[in-house]
């Protein structure tokens, strides 16, 4: 643990490290990631889609120079896909080989670590170091609620128990980041084990900074006008308010088309990269491309 304490000595230093891996964290985010890495305690990230929940985990892994192990949740995901699975073909092969060689094969021989396939959660626990792996459990709300129970041991103890082998304890407890889109309430048991951070939409200045990092070839005035336009769009009652990801896509589209500024003409041709519902597009266009393009 001393090593991670050196790498992440204060929220401020972590913020600079994240900055070096091109993720502009605000103070709240750097404090949250600092606590998650140092306590260590799983961190539950919530926020509107497109505010950079997944990016935060990627950036933390880059800043710590450790692998990012990602588990995308979906309905029906189970322990065999998230924790571990026995390598049955290999076990069968071992049985066959021992038969042909007329050897006696004991049951225990078939349930050794060599016959175990590590899935993301076990991989994260077994990561050899020197620093802990970053484990991203993405969109936990998509998994069935029973699945949350599989996570509790990992979240609380940093270990995974395999009945045939025993408990695998992490030498470097993984830094766990969970994200949720709040399609359903998570269990209290899960929440209790987590730190919590809600990510707001960044303001215009921060959006500008973030987009400039991601699309360095775009001119600053263009990025600024896009950031301001995205903020204006959010004041409309659109169904899907655009986030940072949409701002980046918009600038990329404008850049690809070689449009140097966000004029009404450019807005009309590229608005589809920001608003993804027909109703939203109609609503925005009813305000007029001039309003969107800004002064």
């Amino acid at each position: 643990m001393s090593d991670i304490a050196e790498w992440v000595s204060s929220p401020h230093e972590l913020r600079e490290a994240l900055d070096r891996s091109d993720y502009l964290a605000d103070e709240g985010m750097s404090v949250a990631l600092f606590c998650a890495a140092r306590l260590p305690q799983p961190l539950l990230l919530e926020g509107e889609p497109g505010v950079g929940k997944t990016e935060a985990a990627k950036a933390l892994a880059a800043a710590l120079d450790t692998p990012l192990i990602r588990l995308q949740c979906y309905e029906g995901i189970d322990a065999a896909e998230a924790l571990y699975e026995w390598n049955f073909p290999r076990q069968l092969l071992a049985i066959k080989v021992s038969e042909t060689a007329h050897e006696h094969l004991r049951e225990e021989d078939l349930f050794r670590r060599d016959y175990l396939l590590a899935r993301p959660l076990l991989q994260a626990v077994e990561h050899p170091g020197p620093r802990p792996a970053v484990l991203l459990i993405d969109e936990i709300d998509r998994a069935d609620d029973e699945f949350e129970a599989f996570l509790l041991e990992l979240l609380a103890e940093g270990s995974v128990t395999i009945p045939e082998i025993g408990t695998v304890r992490a030498t470097h407890r993984p830094v766990v980041i969970l994200t949720s889109n709040r399609t359903r309430d998570l269990h209290d048991a899960l929440k209790r084990r987590c730190l919590y951070h809600w990510i707001d939409y960044p303001d215009v200045a921060r959006t500008t900074d973030i987009v400039r990092r991601r699309v360095p070839q775009a001119s600053t005035p263009l990025v600024e006008s896009v950031a301001a336009a995205v903020a204006r769009l959010r004041t409309l009652e659109v169904q899907k308010p655009p986030g940072v990801a949409e701002a980046i896509n918009w600038v990329l589209a404008l850049d690809l088309l070689g449009l140097p500024a966000l004029d009404p003409q450019a807005v009309e041709t590229t608005l589809g990269s920001v608003l993804k519902y027909r109703e939203d597009l109609e609503l925005a266009m009813s305000r007029g491309p001039d309003w969107l393009a800004g002064p």
């Binding site: 304490a5 000595s9 204060s10 929220p11 401020h12 605000d26 103070e27 709240g28 404090v31 949250a32 600092f34 606590c35 140092r38 306590l39 305690q41 961190l43 919530e46 979906y74 309905e75 029906g76 189970d78 065999a80 699975e85 026995w86 049955f88 073909p89 076990q91 069968l92 049985i95 066959k96 038969e99 709300d141 998509r142 069935d144 889109n181 709040r182 399609t183 359903r184 309430d185 929440k191 209790r192 987590c194 730190l195 919590y196 951070h197 809600w198 707001d200 939409y201 960044p202 303001d203 215009v204 921060r206 959010r234 004041t235 009652e237 169904q239 899907k240 308010p241 109703e279």
Partner: protein, 389 residues
């Protein structure tokens, strides 16, 4: 890091404990475990600024988005006059447009003819007004004496009937799940189980194990109108909400002028306590109705995220909307695209000669799969049928 808050090093554990206590008193459930985490982080990095302290506290003590305003208020009161938490959060976005407060219109009364009147009123201005006694009469006249109880309008409900109501079960229709179960007639090979079985036969997979996708009940979302015009039905319908949440894992919402999610409040063993809690949570009991805005809030904050996708939506309302009917039509159309099925329960439908002339109801009807009355116990069977079909 040097220069913590104040000039001399404060007792961090005491500070964390004190702050957690204040927060707990303000209604945010802070466990000692969380307070301990705050003290631990403060020991690791003495907060250099008030804003850093704000974030350390928020990340460690708060467990959900809804508690953040309370946290902000408590934090501001501790550092009274010194800070405004809004500064730390940067330019926070404007509150969701659909949550509008302060505009509680009184329920419309008197100035409209009742729907059960022989002459239909022109659409838009039409609707039911003062508790149409003629309506109750028609309902009762239509039922035989021994059926009286089952057809009794919820407006006059005895404790016995409420108990009967409490036994109703919402059964949701099924959908195919991604999860599989072992099934002899399945088509997908379960490699893991087949090979495990093969070990019994010397590694020869003689009898393969097959699986089939399992069926799971669809999510049920109950959205109940608790405005003034629905007052006499709300007790009974809340009981239905409680049944749904506690027995069928449904999601429950109520609205009059604003939408309130009641699922958590209703997840309690004792329905009376749950209903009492629910009553405190929703500030707009018996207020005016803004169905369009309420459905919009539901779509924006919950439906679009996935709560309504493939779900059965049950809306319990008389369609009395003091808001814009066009908003309601637009939002119902959005909901229609998300949901599997929309059932609208309107207790006034039971009245003889009822026609959906209230502007709101007329606007919503094209997007509704089933339109049922649900004004009495017998009629609720019809509601349950409409959900299950």
């Amino acid at each position: 890091m040097t220069g913590a808050v104040g000039t001399r090093p404060p007792d961090l554990a005491a500070l964390a404990g004190h702050f957690a206590t204040l927060l707990h008193a303000a209604g945010v459930p802070v466990t000692p475990e969380r307070a301990g985490r705050l003290a631990a982080t403060m020991a690791m990095t003495a907060p250099a600024t008030v804003s850093e302290l704000y974030w350390l506290g928020r990340v460690t003590l708060v467990a959900d988005h809804g508690s953040i305003p309370v946290y902000d208020a408590v934090f501001a009161s501790v550092f009274e006059g010194l800070v405004d938490p809004a500064d730390f959060r940067g330019d926070s976005p404007p509150p969701p447009p659909s949550v509008r407060r302060g505009e509680t219109r009184p329920p419309p009364r008197g100035d409209n003819p009742p729907v059960s009147a022989p002459m239909p009123s022109p659409a838009g201005a039409a609707g039911d007004g003062e508790e149409g006694s003629s309506e109750e009469d028609t309902v009762q006249a239509a039922s035989s004496a021994d059926e009286r109880l089952r057809h009794e309008d919820f407006a006059r409900l005895s404790p016995e009937e409420l108990a009967q109501l409490g036994r109703l079960r919402i059964v949701a229709p099924q959908r195919l799940s991604r999860r599989q179960v072992r099934n002899r007639r399945g088509t997908d090979l379960d490699v893991r189980a087949s090979l495990r079985r093969a070990r019994r036969t010397g590694g020869e997979p003689l009898s393969p194990v097959v699986r089939k996708r399992r069926h799971r009940p669809r999510r049920v979302v109950l959205i109940c109108d608790i405005s003034g015009s629905m007052e006499r039905y709300s007790r009974a319908y809340l009981q239905l909400l409680w049944n749904g949440v506690s027995e069928s894992r449904a999601e429950a919402f109520v609205f009059a002028t604003r939408l309130t999610r009641l699922t958590r409040a209703l997840t309690r063993a004792n329905p009376d306590r749950a209903l009492e809690k629910a009553g405190r949570l929703a500030p707009d009991w018996h207020g005016g109705t803004r169905i369009g805005e309420a459905i919009a809030a539901f779509n924006d904050q919950h439906g679009r995220r996935g709560l309504a996708r493939g779900a059965v939506i049950l809306i319990l309302s008389d369609g009395w909307d003091t808001g814009d009917a066009q908003v309601l039509a637009r939002e119902m159309q959005r909901l229609r695209r998300l949901a599997y099925r929309i059932v609208w329960v309107n207790p006034r439908k039971a009245a003889d000669g009822y026609r959906p002339l209230v502007a709101g109801m007329a606007a919503a009807l094209p997007y509704v799969d089933a339109f049922v009355s649900g004004h009495s116990l017998a009629a609720l069977d019809e509601v349950l049928e409409a959900i299950a079909s």
